[in-house]
Amino acid sequence: MSQQGSTDRILVLTYNRNNYGIVADYVKAKERTASDCRNDPLFKQIPVLSARRKLKQIKALPTGKLDGADKQYEDAIAQLLPSILYPHLDFADTQTRSIGGSTIRDLVFYNNRSVDFLEEILDDYHSRQLVMELKNVDSIDRENINQLNRYLTAEFGACSVLVTRNPLPKAMFRNTIELWSGQRRAIVALVDSDLELMVEVFDSKQRPPIEVLKKKYIEFRRACPS
């Protein structure tokens, strides 16, 4: 048995020696695709305690870009929102590039139409995906709104969410209303206090956190001219 085994081994080694190129390519190809074999667990929500911790971390961050605060803000929101909005908004992806690579969307969700509000935004705004822009700024300006407006192309529909620290200044809120009046585009702002309420209801389970987003959308629509 061991005699047979060593003969096979010799045959394999001889083959490898004679076909070095093929073997090297095979190994390289296998190594390249090794990550495809890694176990991909189903989406895992962050626990309640972590959600509160994330919120605390977000609220403690200064606005602006000092010491990478903007990146930390984006990272924390990108972990918090997919967890608390799951399963109503699913398949979240961060930092997705457009085909040309010119624009990067911060956070994109697949709209699975699981609640009436999501169905409404698909019907009214054709949002098969919901795009969220994360802005760690003290006050939103016109350029921020224009940037988000540029993302609202065919595949994202005409509804999007601006996640930021403080409520929109009056002029900017009017600007979003005008965008709705002129082009029927909805930009809804989610601010720190809304995240707070979302985490609160996520913890107490009294309401699904998506209803906070719905509430903000309804407030926005009430302000729009009828």
Binding site: L197, E200, Q206, V212, K215, I218
Partner: protein, 125 residues
């Protein structure tokens, strides 16, 4: 007041009291937490009956009739409003009772029949 209205009032007054007790306990624990849709539905149905019974004169707020479900009212919002309704309910009761004899308070009833006893007005007791 009519006899039927008095019975309805006593039922609603008891409901307002127990709602306030429950919600204020929640409000102390988590004032900014939203009240779930089931509870809001029940609170609204009680408030709706109160609105009809109280009429314009005893409504706590002329522009408030019920909690909008979509606006996620918080525990402290609900506790605040229910307490206002309780206050106005007491005002309505105090205006519709009289002292029958020493320490015996009864309702002023429009239709005939037995007296209905009640407690003295809260501000006297």
């Amino acid at each position: 007041m009519k006899r039927a209205s008095i019975h309805l009032f006593e039922k609603l007054d008891a409901q307002l009291g127990s709602i306030y007790q429950e919600i204020s306990a929640l409000a102390r624990k988590a004032p900014n937490d939203a009240v779930n849709a089931f509870k809001i539905g029940l609170v609204n149905s009680t408030l709706k009956q109160c609105n009809e019974l109280f009429g314009k004169d005893y409504l706590p707020f002329q522009d408030f009739t019920e909690f909008p479900q979509d606006e996620l009212p918080t525990n402290s919002d609900v506790a605040f409003v229910v307490l206002q309704y309780k206050g106005c309910a007491e005002k309505l009761r105090a205006d519709n009772i009289r002292l029958e004899s020493f320490d015996e308070w009864v309702w002023k009833i429009d239709d005939k029949g037995e007296q209905i006893q009640t407690a003295p007005p809260k501000k006297l007791s």
